[in-house]
């Protein structure tokens, strides 16, 4: 009976209603100094899962941008210290600079792994929050993401990116395949099996749209969970770069027509396509929807060089947004609506990431002097940006906060990743 109650149920319990909320944006934002000691284990099952739980849990908290996760090597507390307020020596946590302390206890119950998280205020010595969750014993990563999400939600009142999925392209030999993974790049699964598959986009409900050369020229395909990939645009022309409208009902893409490339919007199954750009020469590409689905950002060289433009989703009222540089591409619209992130080739011919404010045109720089950085894409909550960088050699996936801080490589079991996309 007890096992039934605990199995796979989410049981977050907010302990205190008046707990403080971390305001993520604003000039006064300061990451919360947080001590995250290794999880305590109550039995063999917990012990076995501890390492696989710990790494993704700590990565989630570090990458979130809202915590300063303290260096464990500074810790002075007894590693066997308990998980309840009464058993914790808070002055030792204060001595290492912690303002908050997170303790996790892991234990097995039959074929499930159960984790219990407690958040303490080091200054007051009080327990602020408690959450527990159970997963199948072989999924300690999912437990880590769930508990990190519960903590993030408690402190920010916002949804975290930790339970979301990403998609990207991985090159193996001459093949390029579409992969889908957890937000940290792990638990990855190949969606395609060989050939050239490009520019994947995650839509609502787990649908993945991508460009594939399986018929010898680029066509657009959509794969929904549990189904085979289905061609949605396959009309003998070069179709690339599917982009889902926020409600998942429409797709935008680019279609080569003679000497020009135009943007189209169609229903999600490819029906009723309608051109939304009409430039006799030149290229329009890389559509990106605004979060309200009313506008589309895109790249066009109608002004002489590739620049970011914005127009209504029906193609009316196109407006140029970027005026600096001569090579701006791959726009992604923030889920908050205010910013568009894009790749620019800068004065030293390096690719770097920038944002442009949709209303004011104000440019913000996100990366500098660290190889080529390309293909920015916002997390569903708008707080993080995923991108590719060559700072360590071959292109890899990195994550940073939306203002360019805290740049970290994704801790992927198998490195490499291009043209990422991120979805709810």
């Amino acid at each position: 009976m007890k096992a039934l109650l605990f199995s796979l149920l989410l049981l977050p319990i907010a302990a205190l209603a008046q707990a403080p909320v971390i305001q993520i944006s604003g000039a006064n934002f300061r990451p919360l100094p947080l001590a995250v000691p290794a999880p305590l284990t109550v039995d063999e099952g917990g012990k076995k899962a501890a390492n696989d739980f710990d790494a993704p849990f700590v990565f989630d908290l570090r990458a979130s941008g809202i915590f300063q996760v303290l260096d464990r090597s500074s810790f002075t507390a007894d590693p066997k210290e308990g998980v309840t307020a009464g058993s914790i020596n808070f002055s030792r946590w204060a001595d290492v600079g912690a303002e908050s302390l997170v303790k996790v206890q892991l234990g097995a119950e039959g074929s499930t792994l159960r984790g219990e998280l407690r958040l303490f205020n080091v200054g007051t010595g009080r327990e602020d929050f408690k959450a527990s969750h159970a997963v199948p014993a072989n999924e300690p990563r999912q437990l880590a993401h769930f508990l990190a999400d519960a903590l993030y939600k408690h402190l920010t009142r916002e949804s975290s990116p930790f339970l979301t999925r990403i998609t990207f392209v991985r090159k193996t030999g001459s093949n390029r395949d579409v992969w889908v993974a957890d937000w940290d790049g792990n638990n990855a699964r190949a969606l395609t099996n060989g050939g050239i598959n490009l520019l994947p986009a995650l839509g609502p409900g787990g649908a993945v749209g991508f460009t594939s050369y399986r018929k010898g020229r680029p066509d657009l395909y959509v794969q929904r969970p549990g189904e085979d990939a289905r061609a949605v645009v396959q009309n003998g022309q070069m179709a690339t770069g599917i982009a889902w409208s926020p409600d998942g009902k429409r797709i935008a893409y680019a279609l080569a027509e003679g000497e020009s490339t135009q943007l189209y919007v169609a229903n999600a199954d490819g029906s009723s396509p309608k051109a939304i750009t009409d430039t006799p020469y030149g290229i329009n590409s890389s559509p990106a929807w605004s979060p309200d689905g009313k506008r589309i950002a895109f790249v066009s060289n109608r002004g002489g060089s590739p620049q970011i433009y914005v127009m209504n989703a029906d193609g009316s009222n196109p407006k140029r947004l970027t005026f600096q540089g001569n090579y701006n591409q791959t726009p992604d619209w923030s889920p908050r609506g205010d910013l568009i992130a894009f790749t620019a080739r800068d004065e030293r011919n390096a690719f770097d990431l920038f944002t442009v404010n949709v209303d004011t045109g104000k440019i913000g720089r996100l990366t500098q002097d660290q190889g080529n950085n390309e293909e920015p894409v916002f997390s569903p909550n708008g707080r993080l940006i995923l991108f590719t960088s060559t700072r360590d050699g071959a292109p890899r996936l990195y994550v940073m906060t939306a203002d360019g801080n805290n740049q970290l490589p994704l801790p992927m079991e198998k490195a490499g990743g291009l043209t990422p996309d991120w979805a709810p």
Binding site: Q68, S73, A94, D95
Partner: protein
């Protein structure tokens, strides 16, 4: 500044003492040392503090305290650490690194050499300010003045 000097023209003289000048130089250049009064610091580690007649500094907020007890054991807060690990522990310590300041709470009977080793470890870990915690009992005038100032 040589400390073993004055042997010009005397032929070969063995220098038996260790030349501490470079070390003292480094310490003086890189460490700012000041006195802190004990009542401000509640510590779990029991030490007999040295008495000092010096104007103490009022501690604005609580800094990390390193203690050395009469048995020459070293503590961060009330947690004992091996001296060899002190530097790494302090280099990783977010509080010490944010403040760049620690308070030293050493027993009066601890040899100077041990205190210097602890201070050198702190200095290598990037700490620039060291407050020497002393017993204000021997400096009643100074502490009274401080109290008056605090009341104002």
């Amino acid at each position: 500044m040589g400390m073993g000097g004055g042997n010009k023209g005397q032929g070969r003289v063995t220098m038996s003492e260790i030349n501490v000048t470079p070390m003292v130089d480094v310490m003086l250049v890189l460490l700012i040392i000041f006195m802190v009064t004990a009542p401000l610091i509640q510590q779990g580690v029991k030490v007999n503090l040295p008495e000092a007649r010096a104007t103490p500094v009022e501690a604005a907020d609580k800094k990390l305290v390193l203690s050395i007890d009469a048995g020459r054991r070293v503590f961060i807060g009330d947690a004992e650490v091996v001296l060899d690990e002190l530097e790494t522990k302090l280099a990783a310590n977010a509080k010490a690194q944010a403040d760049k300041e620690v308070y030293l709470h050493a027993d009066r009977d601890v040899p100077y050499g041990v205190v210097v080793e602890v201070m050198a470890a702190a200095q290598r870990a990037g700490i620039t300010n060291v407050g020497m915690i002393t017993d204000p009992a021997a400096a009643p005038a100074a502490s009274k003045e401080k109290k008056k100032e605090a009341k104002r």
